[in-house]
Symmetry: C2
Subunit: 310 residues, 2 copies
């Protein structure tokens, strides 16, 4: 591969060694929250998450990197370079419920293996390199999407630590404290020394499989608009309300759903529109619904197009 | 009104008296299971149902009728005529959850008031008349639709009393025994002396209101076909699976729902098609569904048409 040519000391045995190491590390991390069917549930600040983070710290230290964590609990393994500008690389350590063992973890492992190899073989780099084990990206426990990245970029709002709660009513602030983290210190996580960020991640779609490519480079990031639509109509008896007299919100929802799908198909990639959830009330098979609620998730790379879709 | 002309002894004061009696009886029955919002929950063989049936027995006796109950607990108030062939009239005494106070009850009250008036004023009729307070019609507690009518027509299958259970696992047989009824006696409820049946019932649709008619006569009974459709597709990430690669069962469901609606509208009355319930799995707003389940309720008076619709 072209990329290996620039690393004069990187040979086939290194590649085999790194591939074996990466596989072992993935399996080691899978243990923290892994279930019998291979899926992983590792919610931020849970015992499984704490165990995974402790494990990550251990192998980053073994790789010869300087390890620290920030105020929200993200871990960093640093290889100091000539320049103070940092190239950060990694991914998230939390999972969705019953997530894949490679989701997030693969990015941390790839960055760790690569920077560890560089530390052992190439000496001090021109730019400082850091492995990033992001504490949270998945809204896995709190409605706190991008918690780790928002801490890094100074975008956690005052009061969020008391406001965000999990399904048991535990605030994210108290969950942090249970992990030995101080919510008041969050502003200290804001970094201004980051020159670049590289996030290796599994592809969650079928494009690479179908094109038979081994790797893809993200050249655009889509924006997302999620709208929750509730249509109100008039509930009635399925037998006695003639079709012409109906105000059936689910029939309307079906048309809107088909419409959203058609629009996204007509626009072509990268537009996507997804109705992921739907419900009708009262919900009896023999009742004309009085209410229909569904979500529409629009994604596109162009915010003007997104505004139009919405 | 033309119908009053045939009853020479029926005058305006009788009409006013009967209307007042009927209103009082409806309110008296509403007490058994009535909630603060006016709705009534009176499931078959429940304490509320037992209290309503005891109340019905009492006023049928006061009306001068011979009262008895059958093996499943339906009550009958009999005015013996010259002929043994019986004209039965009434409706159901059970309710759906939070049903209307007039649903079912009105039919029992109208029959009771009318036959009671005849008993007091007209002497022995040519044909025997009976008020029917049907124990169950609504599948209100068990999946036992038409329990009372099926008992009358000998259509309760052996073993149903042990097989049908309510949401707490109580069998309909043990619920009957708790009301002092013997499930083994069900065959004795089968009647062959019924010459005609008249069921007065509120209209549950808007047709009479719109046509400004006071009363309608049912000239056809619709058949019902309910199908539960589950479509299987391939679940995926709402962002990373391009539209062209999707196998989204909910998108397919939306088309089928619109199609069912369109077919029923095109056919015109009495055809109706209703999708009353729907769900998508896994159900996340950011997930292409992998499964969509919905019900379609088709009704028409012609069974060949129903077969075609299905």
């Amino acid at each position: 591969m072209a990329t290996t040519a620039v690393l004069s000391r990187f040979g086939a045995s290194d590649r085999a060694q790194l591939a074996a190491d990466a596989g072992r590390l993935i399996e080691r991390l899978r243990k923290h929250g892994g279930g019998p069917n291979g899926g992983v549930t590792r919610l931020v600040y849970s015992p499984e998450w704490q165990a995974a983070m402790a494990d990550i710290e251990e192998w980053l230290l073994e790789s010869g990197l300087a390890v620290r964590h920030d105020a929200v609990g993200s871990r960093f393994g640093r290889l100091q370079g000539e320049s103070s500008s940092v190239v950060l690389s990694g991914s998230h350590t939390d999972s969705v419920k019953q997530g894949g063992a490679y989701d997030g973890t693969l990015g941390v492992v790839i960055a760790g293996c690569a920077i560890g190899w560089l530390a052992r073989n190439m000496g001090k780099p021109a730019r400082t390199l850091e492995v990033f084990a992001n504490c949270e990206e998945e809204s896995s426990r709190f409605a706190s999407n991008f918690w780790g990245s928002r801490a890094l970029t100074g975008r956690i709002a005052p009061g969020e630590t008391d406001r965000l709660t999990d399904e048991n009513g535990v605030t994210i602030g108290s969950a942090m404290r249970a992990c030995g983290l101080d919510p008041a210190a969050i502003p200290s996580a804001h970094r201004k020394d980051l020159g670049a960020y590289v996030e290796p991640h599994i592809e969650q779609g079928p494009v690479l499989v179908e094109s038979r490519d081994v790797i893809g480079v993200v050249d655009r990031v889509v924006g997302v608009r999620v709208i929750r639509v509730t249509l109100h109509g008039v509930s009635g008896h399925a037998g006695t309300v003639p079709m012409a007299n109906r105000h059936d919100p689910l029939a309307g929802a079906a048309e809107i759903m088909s419409g959203a799908e058609t629009i996204a198909r007509r626009m072509g990639p990268p537009a996507v529109a997804t109705v992921g959830s739907i419900a009708a009330k009262p919900g009896g098979f023999n009742q004309v619904p009085g209410e229909a609620t569904f979500t529409v998730d629009f994604r596109h790379t162009d915010s003007d197009v997104l505004d139009g879709l919405e």
